[in-house]
Amino acid sequence: MTLNMGPQHPATHGVLRVVLELDGEIVVKAYPVIGYLHTGIEKTAEAKHYHKVVPLTDRMDYLAPMSNNLGYCLAVEKLLDCEIPPKAQWARVCLAELTRINSHLVWLGTHALDIGAMSMALYAFREREHILGIYELVSGQRMMSSYFRIGGLMKDLPKNFNEEVQKVIDLIPSRIREYEDLLTENRIFRNRTIGVGKLTKEDAMTYSLTGPMIRGCGIPYDLRKAIPYSSYDKFDFEIPTREEGDVFARYQVRVEEMYQSLRITQQAIDGMPEGDFRANVPGVVLPPKDKVLTEMEALIFHFKIITEGFHPPEGEVYVGIESPKGEIGYYIVSDGSPNPYRMRVRPPSFINLAALPKMCEGGYVADVIANIGSVDIVLGEVDR
């Protein structure tokens, strides 16, 4: 029998449809159907100046907007070959790691909800509020912050930034331990996840899995260590891996990652350097607002950057960063005009989702829910 799962199923956060061919309650074939949320961001980016693409990137993986901003900004900065001041780099690392916790909390809540732990979703969203509070503190926005800009940050960090982040760092570990008490030894949760959706190392390689999916298969692939960007090489952290490759292993990897992210965030605010929050590259980075209002030069530069954009050299770059879901990569082709000639996003959720049939086939219908949850997809990014 053929069964359409989704798009209204609570397990498919958004608009995924999975066509299942069933034999009794065994899944013979699973066929994900996507594209219901296709927004054409890559096409839209070709009609915009480089600066104006940043808000578009927020809207892809809307649970980890800062990671998307970071990847895009790094790609354009690489194209321009401009140096970013250390303070901006540290702030980026700090916020990118908070973003990772933010994304993993939503994942944990919804994944546990799929399996039947109702209260987990409420708890996880409660803790996420604190991180959204930090977003609001720095950028004025709770979700689509667009805080990272080409050349640095939108504006300087507020004075009470370190204290507020410290409060979050002090609060969250005890709460994560609470979740572990709820889930890790929970018999229902263990039965629903251990041995489900198993993937081997070879599967991980052939399906190009990244992020917690590949680390749950025992391959310690993390771009923060492999190709360090934005000063990650100056931070001390570990890459959690598990050998089993099942849903439970991916759960463990993500929970451990949250602890590691807190470690990095602590180091980032302890060692936050002094200095400028954006690079001094006239003609690319917008001049400070107070100067725009008082100096003619700055006003002219500001006007020119907004209306004409800047002209990067011809060429193409690819930058991949470790987002909460996996490797998000930006491939930008420039033809010397102020708009990107081609902006390609390598979407981690999209590529990880392709392994869903492999995980589901031969298992039970109920395990499909657990598998979809463990991939950690955000359909905004799958469909772009």
Binding site: I34, G35, H38, G40, E42, K43, T44, E46, A47, K78, L79, D81, M205, T206, Y207, S208, I219, Y221, A226, I227, G315, E316, V317, Y318, G320, E327, G329, Y331, V333, Y341, R342, R344, R346, F350, I351, L353, A354, A355, K358, D383, R384
Partner: protein, 167 residues
């Protein structure tokens, strides 16, 4: 990110007849190769034990409508041995069929479907070359440069028949 110079020499020695162009803009190594040889080259790079570029990071395309071979496909490989990337590109005429890379990596399946859907590049031997992102009734390939970006005017009762405006 650094370039693995040994790998660069290795490719140049083994595939000297197939390489059309080489560039290393911003420390990224790119080879443009003959379009019919791409799968053989990828297979060689994947199975070579010394460099082991066995991870297909991404497969995408760029459209240059004014060129004779308008589609430029890029295959980005990654090696776990020394954490370096290498990019192979091919240029394809419209309608010219390209061998599929799904024989080497399962992940190429969806990536190629996306390139087919948004650019119209046809991959020969692909197990399921169907649309993936765009609507079933949409004609054309949106990421081609001559597919114009349109703006949908908000419709009210007095203008409900207006077609979308081209930007």
């Amino acid at each position: 990110m650094s370039i693995n110079r040994e790998a660069e020499k290795f490719v140049e020695e083994n595939f000297s007849a197939d390489i059309l162009e080489k560039s290393d803009f911003r420390d990224e190594l790119t080879f443009i190769v003959k379009e019919d040889r791409i799968v053989d080259i990828l297979k060689f790079m994947k199975e070579d034990e010394k460099f082991a570029y066995n991870f297909l990071t991404d497969l995408t395309a760029t459209d240059w409508p004014e060129r004779d071979k308008r589609h430029e496909l890029a295959y980005m490989l990654f090696s776990f041995k020394d954490n370096t990337r290498i990019r192979f590109k091919i240029r394809v005429k419209e309608g010219h069929k390209i061998q599929t890379a799904t024989v080497l990596w399962e992940s190429a399946n969806w990536m190629e479907r996306e390139v087919f859907d948004l650019f119209g590049v046809i991959f020969e031997g692909h197990p399921d070359l169907t649309k993936i992102l765009t609507a079933d009734d949409l004609e054309g390939h949106p990421l081609q440069k001559d597919y114009s970006l349109t703006y949908e005017i908000p419709h009210f009762s007095h203008n409900k028949d207006l077609p979308p405006e081209v930007i």
